[in-house]
Symmetry: D2
């Protein structure tokens, strides 16, 4: 499944160059994967309730065109990879049909103390079934 | 005791008006009272280690002059009030001898679950002794 | 007119106390008054296109109950005052029928160089007509 | 030249996992490269005064260990590459001798309207002379 999260650019997300600060996209990607989990029926609050977290262990972003205050952008999000302990999400940030940015995040399943954990089998199944390209 | 915390304005703290976004000052005030606690020998990490927090329950700010990227500002901070359960800090934000903003925060002592607590007597004594105007 | 802007709490907006950081509300209020202007037909981008800004000159917030990741909150917003040069917005932050916070911001009309300006007469009329309590 | 910028973790930079949010590192890297430019005698404000900006066009980060409120971290920063139009910085985030994160940013020289520009020759010389590995 691919989810497109609409975002109205906040003034606080811009910087003195008059465009959205590059760190704001990092926050948007997070909101987008939270929405993705929500839509596949596995809300992140439910994952946390099991004492687990998907900590970000890697992040990559390419910025192609600036976003500005007043823009409505969309974060296209999909799960690209799901192993026994890690997830990889990929993202494209759009303003209409103009690509603003693209990127990925990699996550490690951890317990509340930050120790790496296997993703519970039932969760792997739900995630894998919604992985992009899976059928 | 009054503490002056120097802050180098970060580009990420500016907005499309070309000046520092008003929410950034709120973060600066927090850094300043953390430094104040550090300097009176009561680091906030030590307060948290006792299972307590000083949650912000009120905030007021007046903005007089803008700060810009590249500015070095100073947050003048003092404890104005200390009751059995609450603290009130006051602040002035300076760029050299130009007042940029002034404000206050009020805090409630809470346990880890957010329940109001009396500030431990020993802590009240340390805080009160450093309260502005106390002798 | 009163506008209620729904906001899905972002993980990045929380802090180590496990609740939404108090500075995040400041950003939410801004998003809410931007939406208010949008809904009365005076988008902020249009105000900026006239070379004007409504700079925040005062801010007050009282925090009553914490918000958490996963919460859907609503920012109730109205224009409480409109003078020839200033605006005052008031806000309440709700989670369902539970009041989380309430506050206000005061704004000064400025040109692009930060010089105080009279709000153009046509704009005052649009704003005043939508002021809370006006009929 | 390599610069190490010390940073006191701000409470606002943490999240509900109890550690520093991954987007905060992005802001730290920016502060670090601003300090690097300052120390080689080419402050970013001076670059902006010439109508130029080094817009972030790519960003990569690997997170190895969490930072927490109260930590003093250091951002080790160096210029890894300087072409006629682009820069590449590399970073390591340390807590004492423990590596917390490592990453890079790539930048494109732009004018105030966001159009790609050659980096002025004099600036290339100053930058290249301080490039890591240059002699």
């Amino acid at each position: 499944m691919t989810v497109r999260l609409p975002i109205a650019v906040r003034y606080a997300e811009t910087d003195a160059m008059g465009v959205v600060h590059h760190s704001s996209y990092v926050v948007w990607l997070e909101a987008a994967r939270v929405e993705w989990l929500e839509q596949i029926g596995l809300p992140y609050t439910q994952i946390e309730a099991q004492g687990l977290a998907f900590a970000v262990v890697e992040l990559g972003l390419i910025y192609r065109n600036p976003a500005r205050f007043g823009d409505r952008v969309e974060i296209e999000t999909w799960l690209a990879e799901c192993t026994s302990r890690t997830l990889r999400y990929e993202y494209r940030v759009w303003k209409d049909d103009r690509l603003l940015a693209e990127g990925f995040t990699r996550h490690l399943c951890q317990d509340a103390r930050g120790k790496a954990q296997r993703i519970p089998q039932a969760m792997v199944q739900v995630l894998s079934a919604q992985r992009h390209g899976s059928s």
